[in-house]
Symmetry: D2
Subunit: 261 residues, 4 copies
């Protein structure tokens, strides 16, 4: 069994900011993909904003078990119909890992149903990431905490729904805290938000970050066939009801008529 991951990158700052370009000469998405490939059970391809259909064609998505999403500078450039397409695949069971500034991506806000706001500071301060769910599959093999010497600060309040589980909480040198690892389920799809990953720091070269990403892909993978029925609201006619019943009362719908959407 191999898990097919697709790493989506915005792919802008690598080309316009010298610091980012030096840290990630092949693009952040490629660095992340290489990190995933260290697990022989994962195959990883990449897709970027500039590709046709942002690289997220029906064909690519149908062959993607877990999608990773990194965007920051130009969330608004992502086409609405592609966002809808990705959301549908998540509901059907595709896993989704949203990274760092992806908290403001269209797809994350759509799936959360909240603003996904936070406080921030770009000062290269120390972040210490504490594991709050020690034996969670996403934390497998990690120490009780790990540090990133230089990171952007994200501070609470982070306006997302209460998660299923809080896996990580970050401590920041400047005095803030942040829920850095959160799990959700939307339809049949598992979602993980992971905070670190500011583009001006070497975060995606960090050993522990790599471990988290590989763990998260494995955790979010759903081997079941896509739950395409999730988009429908089928009528169960009286004559097919599980227990015998007799129709009563007033009616809106004619026999066989579809419901309103």
């Amino acid at each position: 069994m191999t898990i097919r991951a697709t790493v989506w990158g915005e792919n802008i700052h690598e080309h316009v900011n010298e610091v980012v370009g030096k840290l990630y000469p092949e693009g952040m998405h490629e660095t992340i993909a290489q990190s995933l490939r260290q697990d022989k059970n994962i195959t990883a391809r990449t897709a970027v904003l500039q590709d046709a259909e942002h690289g997220l064609t029906d064909s690519v998505l149908s062959q993607t078990d877990v999608l990773l999403w990194w965007g920051h500078k130009d969330h608004s450039a992502v086409a609405e119909d592609i966002v809808e397409r990705v959301a549908r695949r998540v509901w059907e069971g595709m896993g989704l890992i949203v990274l760092h500034s992806g908290h403001y991506s269209k797809i994350f806000k759509k799936l959360m149903g909240t603003p996904c706001s936070l406080h921030w500071r770009e000062a290269g301060e120390r972040e210490r990431i504490w594991v709050t769910s020690p034996n969670h599959p996403i934390a497998a093999g990690l120490p009780p905490f790990f540090e990133l010497e230089n990171e952007e600060m994200y501070g609470e309040h982070f306006s997302v729904p209460e998660p299923l589980e809080t896996v990580f909480i970050s401590w920041f040198q400047g005095g803030e805290v942040f829920r850095s690892g959160l799990t959700y389920k939307r339809g049949a799809g598992s979602i993980f938000y992971f905070r670190p990953g500011h583009e001006t720091y070497p975060t995606y070269h960090d050993v522990n970050v790599g471990k988290v990403l590989r763990n998260a892909v494995t955790w979010a993978y759903n081997p079941a066939a896509p739950l395409t029925s999730i988009h429908d609201a089928p009528n169960t006619p009286v004559e097919q009801s599980h227990e015998p019943i007799v129709e009563r009362g007033g009616k809106l719908h004619k026999p066989g008529e579809a419901g309103y959407k």
Copy 2:
């Protein structure tokens, strides 16, 4: 203290379907509003699809503590910018009660981030609603279960996120079950989904249903000032950090620059 409720009704079937018109001659929204007014701590106004801005102007919403939503036949007629406006007020702390076929309303799908699909059958069968959280404020004063002799069936799988709490589960005569009372929080706003309420049956004249609606309005009321800060992602500059830190590493943002959205 008075809670200001606004009952939003689609207001179509009352005029085009004879059964519905007879059951709710003043409109379903008006019947629901009258039910709410039985609690002297609640004032209830109404708004309908056909009003300018669907009756949900900035002014009305700013004076609404809890919004109730009933729609069915024409969800798509609700303007996108009004949906966005309502969502923003929920995030700021306005309560929202979504009723029956409102499961497919734009506002509910937006706040849930899922398809909100289900199975259904319009056969006037018996529904028995069991309380699964007996001392929940929304279940106050209710017996362990209550019955609606004629209702539309909604069956699982109901594709919504795991709720904070499951307050009611329905048994249907034809053999299905459904999570009929679910609580959520999105931003500072509390949300309650309540299943019963098909327009061809006298559900909103039922004593227990009325009690649930009044309880739900009281539960969803948030006396705090609107949390308007929830829409922002403010920068906390280095010189204002809570603990003294020195800026390090590469940078994307110039001093004072806003973040990307």
Copy 3:
């Protein structure tokens, strides 16, 4: 409507440790009770370990809407039957606020079903408590964060179940984080764990801490009659079933026999 709070204190360190005695000359329980009384809707009595039945007689508990619990040095001195009695009242709907070192009290461990362990350091370091659920009733009137200049450190992993809601997260000067405000429900009773409150510091004289305690008491108050039925597993005989059914298959129980416990 008045909420009847009982503040339970272990009442040991006030008498054997000079620092604690000076900070809380009337006992920590009395300082906490005085803080609660600043809300005119709350009446607060106290009870201590040394009282007969630890001050938690059936009579006292039946007149207690919300119980606050502070213990540290001698959790094992609390009698098992009193723990069971308190648990039963929580299941029936009494609110419970567990404070600081009460994480290791018998009653908290019993209600959580987990070890409730954590890391700690007594160094009088700075704690900054961030609100992670801004409009939660327990956070009403608080700023986005508040500080306690001297507190004991509690660090993750805190081995409690995933909460219903995370209301506060603490930042510590020495580098740790902690989920400092957590809500739970057990039976009909609401439970709030609140981290600060080490006895060698003036925490319970802090204005924001007082506000949290009063808010928490108000939040945990359940006006419903005690849900005494929660202790039973009643049989619903065939002849009283809601839908007509005919008895079939093999049987263990004779008619009218009670279930096994």
Copy 4:
């Protein structure tokens, strides 16, 4: 990788009730174990109440990845220290599947922290089990619902904490509903409660029930090393703090002293 399951059976009714004895001539535990062995990745042993230490020695538990628990007639016969031993292993990461009348077992009540009460009726009525989380690993390969023609009824209110996820809800012929599949986490251990399994019916010979049990064992399996640190509350001394701090304020504890428990 093989998952080591231990099926614990009370092993009483098989010997004293003729109906049960005929359905499960080798004992219910053995039938369940045989069902598990249909998955070649699972090895299953059994243990019964009558064994020394109820068959749950330190050695057996240390070699058990997932424990399944069926008891009914004599929960009180299980020794307290064995219950504590099992709880500790769950907290360290052992999975636990609690079956049917095990809702009233000491171990389940201890881990839930609630009465775990419900309504019941032994009438051999039809149970229809609906999947409410379609792509959950525990529901893998199941149809949208399955039926058990003869089962004992369990009805709400089921006084357990809100679960992480509701996987199944049952419909009963006599008019009740029940949350039949619930997931929890306690410490590092995953817990699944599964309702069906009354001893006078052939439930554990059912194909779908067998599938659920095998799925649940696979889901509850935690490959990580036992989290034995979960029982401790270690002190992190000032001189080893992650950030440099200076000790301040009053103190209770002498250097190196253990915390109170």
